[in-house]
Symmetry: C2
Subunit: 287 residues, 2 copies
């Protein structure tokens, strides 16, 4: 890296690694009431959103994460109508959720309105559904929102949180999962981003255990690439509130009638294949 190049670098202390993107310009920087928000133009990955120094998304690769946080759970629920997104202020999950014509209400609850306003300016492609009549954006505390929700109200809850650090750690707790379960109706499904299988296996296993302890009947994890997150490999963990996970609506996924860039019926099935070391708790070569 020569001295006239500019790079954004995210250091991952968990893994003694760091990932850098070459930036051409800093487009935005502010300290909101909740976090430090930055937006950069990068050489190859399009716009980059950074919160408190961590890469949240790039224009190039966020499609994988947002599609995998939404379509697997929505094509597993038999008839998802009311969807709650906790976090997700960039509106990428909201956009994917509203591609499902059966959804009648999508509540997005992110405490920091500034993230959404910044996304509207620098990631307009993620915010095209913000004015959809079915969408409601609430800038309040997600934990309180779920506690206050009418029991059995939602069909699907999506936890699109930051890493389990600081305030966001509460979104990974058994108490919060129990609260989500109460807010879910019959066949209700919860899905939460659950970090890297290579770097955070213990967290994934703890999340699965906490969901079961919170009363969820069955828990499963799906795997997908996410190039700009640590290790480039990520997971989402799904749970069903009152019975075994319903089957995949595979034909509906085939006939979905909307565009995706990563997700399809084959990818849905593939994402739930469990790597051997997660299956049988093998030691990794370096642990």
């Amino acid at each position: 890296m020569t001295s006239d190049e500019k790079w954004f670098t995210e250091k991952c202390d968990d893994s003694g690694s760091s990932f850098s993107l070459k930036v051409t310009q800093k487009l935005h920087e502010e300290q909101s009431a909740y976090q430090h928000i930055e937006v950069y133009a990068t050489e190859h990955f399009g716009h980059l959103l950074v919160l408190d120094g961590y890469i949240m998304l790039t224009a190039l690769d966020n499609f994988i994460y947002h599609e995998m946080m939404t379509h697997p759970v929505l094509f597993t629920h038999p008839d998802p109508r009311r969807v709650l997104i906790i976090g997700g202020g960039d509106c990428g999950c909201l956009h994917e959720v509203l591609k499902h014509p059966g959804v009648t209400q999508a509540d997005q609850v992110d405490i920091d309105e500034r993230v959404t306003r910044v996304a509207e300016e620098y990631f307009p492609e993620l915010c095209v559904s913000n004015d959809d009549a079915r969408a409601a954006l609430h800038f309040v505390d997600g934990i309180k929102w779920v506690e206050d929700a009418a029991p059995g109200y939602y069909d699907v809850i999506i936890i699109d949180s930051t890493d389990p650090i600081g305030q966001a750690a509460r979104l990974f707790s058994q108490e919060f999962y129990a609260s989500c379960r109460r807010a879910l109706g019959e066949n209700g499904l919860l899905v939460a981003q659950s970090e890297s299988p290579l770097l955070h296996r213990e967290l994934i296993e703890a999340m699965q255990d906490r969901m079961v302890s919170a009363g969820f009947a069955e828990v499963t994890t799906c795997y997908f690439p996410q190039p700009t997150y640590p290790s480039g490999w990520w997971t989402a963990t799904m749970a069903c509130n009152d019975r075994a996970l319903p089957g995949f609506r595979a034909q509906d996924a085939v006939d979905r009638g909307f565009t995706t860039r990563y997700y399809n019926e084959q990818i849905h099935r593939a994402a739930f294949a469990i790597p051997e070391f997660m299956n049988v708790s093998l030691d990794l070569p370096v642990d």
Copy 2:
């Protein structure tokens, strides 16, 4: 990164990105007749092998690559006995190949003997099969080896090459694929590492085209995470020389009787799911 920390950084010009690992010690450095070889101890990823400045492998995550370069092709061939590995001087593929009891001969042909000697010292876990009576290590030019091979001699050829830069570019050519095809017997299968779907889609498509142009009957690509390679997401492209790809020997994979850390029967099937943007040549958000 404070000034007393030491990092190894690989810059990926294709993508304006770089990946760094925190190192505790440089264990080895030499200029062989063919390339610059370095080995580091890292904080979290174990030993790191670097060739000409590019990360070849780390102790932590090479299992995914080596298992996915070998077991899918070996459990697709109906009865693989004679296997040729081009490149692969670190011996990781060789070790996985020799886990298959039906294999009677595994020739590893890497021009640089120094890579193997360095691997024996710093990655002994990859070299445990080097003394297997079925293994033969040849330190000569792989292209000439394939040209000189008896027609129809091999059941499986594995191209475990570096990136398509400099001398290694010839290992991605139609002429070389035609030469491999001639050296393969009935039902013979070729597999080649084929870079990142996110960053090198055009190369993957070109490799598929070149294999078909070289006379291979059917070509398919499998996808897997590879955390320390650019984008953290990688592929291997497989081709069958004289007829459609044979079916997956799924029960044999279930009953394999040897340890893997990533590969299993579910993962095998999952790896061949094609992401939508590769399936229908959709534009990526930033192209």
